[in-house]
């Protein structure tokens, strides 16, 4: 596709010399064929003429009000503005809303015992109803299972949930395991990221909280299995995103001596 116009073959036109005095002239734009066209131009019956456009005359450059390359400049300026605008919109999105949630009082209220699940549910509902529910349901069953393993002092209700959750948990665990086995490449990157993020710090902090708080934090963590959780949402879409929960679980299982083996 190296020619100047999309009809890639040159148009060879047979043209009567009497038709149009101007078109008779050797208006060849391609120097390669200059000689050929000159020799053929001597014959008055027809002319080989290479035209890039239709039958009309060549484009006239007289009387241009704006600069010749104004469309070119306008196009590239528009493109640059679009890309920069997109970048700024994305960075603005990263800055909105964050500082106020760091207030410990509001955080405590958010993680009140009874309202833990409700709170998270509410957030999910208000933000993304369509896609987050299946995720939430699946992850909640998984984490109910996990939390039941952790909190051994729970009553019958939990034991029942545990039995129910085991099946879901096993299936989900299997899914995570498969994810893990299949995209193990993301693991390395993600583990580095996690180290940088000081996950250990956060996990220790989480672990040291009260039982209810822990339950709530686990739930909130595990309700977000697909994001580059733990402060590295950078490399979107890579395997990292699938691996976050399995790594968190692994670390927590090591620290808590959980029964099930994520590996």
């Amino acid at each position: 596709m190296r020619t100047e116009k999309p009809p890639k073959r040159l148009l060879l036109r047979l043209q009567d010399s009497h038709e149009d005095g101007e078109s008779f002239c050797v208006t060849v734009e391609m120097s390669d064929f200059h000689n050929r066209s000159q020799t053929s131009a001597r014959r008055s019956d027809y002319v080989w003429q290479y035209e890039y456009y239709d039958d009309e005359e060549p484009v006239s450059f007289e009387g241009l009000k704006a600069h010749r390359y104004s469309i070119v400049i306008g196009f590239w300026v528009g493109l640059a503005v679009f890309v920069i605008f997109m970048f700024f919109v994305l960075t603005l999105l990263t800055k909105t809303g964050a500082p106020h949630q760091d207030n410990p009082d509001s955080a405590e209220k958010r993680h009140r015992p009874g309202s833990c699940l409700v709170d998270i549910d509410g957030h999910q509902d208000e933000n993304d109803k369509a896609f987050s529910r299946p995720l939430l349901a699946g992850s909640r069953s998984y984490f109910n299972f996990y939390i039941n393993e952790e909190d051994k002092g729970h009553g019958k209700q939990k034991a029942e949930e545990k039995r129910a959750g085991k099946h879901t948990g096993a299936r989900v665990e299997g899914t995570f395991n498969r994810n893990r086995g299949v995209s193990s490449s993301g693991m390395d990157e993600m583990e580095e990221d996690i180290e940088e993020a000081g996950v250990h710090q956060q996990l220790t902090g989480l672990i040291e909280q009260s039982k209810t708080d822990r339950e709530c934090t686990f739930l909130s963590h595990f309700n977000i299995p697909n994001f580059v959780n733990l402060d590295h949402s950078s490399t979107l879409g890579e395997d990292d995103l699938l691996y976050e929960p399995s790594v968190i679980l692994e670390r927590q299982s090591k620290s808590h001596d959980a029964h099930f083996d994520i590996h």
């Binding site: 596709m1 190296r2 020619t3 100047e4 999309p6 060879l12 002239c25 050797v26 208006t27 734009e29 390669d32 060549p58 484009v59 006239s60 241009l64 010749r68 390359y69 469309i71 890309v83 997109m86 970048f87 994305l90 960075t91 999105l93 990263t94 949630q101 760091d102 955080a107 993680h111 998270i120 957030h123 933000n127 896609f131 299946p134 995720l135 699946g138 992850s139 899914t175 994810n179 299949v182 490449s185 693991m187 390395d188 940088e196 000081g198 710090q201 956060q202 902090g205 989480l206 708080d213 977000i224 697909n226 580059v228 402060d231 590295h232 949402s233 950078s234 979107l236 879409g237 395997d239």
Partner: protein, 302 residues
């Protein structure tokens, strides 16, 4: 005789020297071919996501190969070894153009498939392995290759019809919009969830906040680079097609058209940037490439 013969228009065609095309072609061929080989050789990379990346690299390999071949043909024709009007040359030219068209379309569809795959990874993570099985991936890739091959042939055969160009341009814009919205959606959801985690009462909150802001910035950068490269490399060429249809005789439009070779060079350089954006960011693939390139014997280095 017309005195003001336009021997040369006021906007002379900007010529990109052949060595530039050859360099772009050679480097992008090497990169993409290595990616294809790495994905095929490493069993860990036999998963849907890597299959799409491999398909993208394969399309780019074909594109760079055919573009280099076309450049050779043009060089030979300019020197005089080839007859530009010969039937075999035009048939070969047609074949090369349809392969180019197929590979450009294919790379675009592969990028779309990668975006959809990432979307499913994030929003349907628990059902991901049921939704995106290897059989389905194979079927999707088969469909992409067949459709692109067919469309490539059709577009070159019926290139003179404006309808083809219109369809091409509309397809391009729709795909761009889909890709952009998928990635922005993923980004926004990542931000929302990162914010939720930030709400946890954990010590070292300032550090936390800084890290979160830093990671979200990186997410914004990633998306901008990914989408920005796509738009910057592809849209000049498509704008060229639009301009041909809309204003063939306008002098301003002609000045834009004079940059055709530059736009094609940009389009082929997209094959140069894609591996860096998609493939080389995956640690496992980098590891495989290192093993392949630095170790002569595969078994020794494992």
């Amino acid at each position: 005789m017309n005195g003001s013969i336009l021997n040369q228009s006021d906007c002379p065609e900007v010529v990109v020297p052949n060595p530039v095309f050859f360099t772009i072609g050679a480097v992008s061929f090497a990169e993409n071919f290595l990616v294809v080989v790495a994905v095929i050789r490493n069993r860990n990379l036999h998963s849907p996501m890597y299959c799409f990346i491999c398909s993208l690299a394969a399309f780019h390999t074909i594109a760079s190969l055919t573009k280099t071949l076309e450049n050779f043909m043009i060089v030979f024709a300019d020197v005089g070894h080839l007859n530009k009007k010969g039937s075999s040359e035009t048939t070969l030219d047609d074949a090369i153009d349809s392969l180019l068209c197929m590979s450009f379309l294919g790379s675009f569809f592969s990028i779309l498939a990668i975006a959809v795959d990432r979307y499913i990874t994030i929003f349907h993570a628990l059902q991901y392995h049921n939704i995106m099985t290897m059989q389905r991936t194979g079927a999707i890739l088969g469909i992409i290759w067949t459709v692109c091959g067919g469309l490539g042939v059709l577009m070159i055969l019926f290139f003179d019809f404006k309808l083809i160009m219109i369809c091409f341009v509309i397809l391009f814009f729709i795909s761009l919009v889909i890709i952009c919205s998928l990635y922005v959606y993923m980004f926004m959801l990542a931000r929302i969830h990162a914010r939720k985690i930030a709400a946890l009462p954990v010590g070292g909150r300032n550090n936390h906040h800084q890290q979160r802001w830093g990671s979200n910035m990186r997410g914004a950068q990633t998306i901008t680079i990914l989408f920005g490269t796509l738009v910057v490399c592809w849209s000049p060429f498509f704008f060229h097609l639009v301009i041909i249809m809309v204003c063939p005789m306008n002098p301003y439009c002609e000045c834009y058209r004079s940059l055709f070779q530059l736009h094609v060079a940009l389009l082929t350089s997209h094959a140069l940037f894609d591996p860096a954006i998609y493939a080389f960011r995956i640690a496992e693939l980098r590891h495989t490439l290192r093993k392949m390139l630095l170790c002569s014997d595969w078994k020794l280095c494992s």
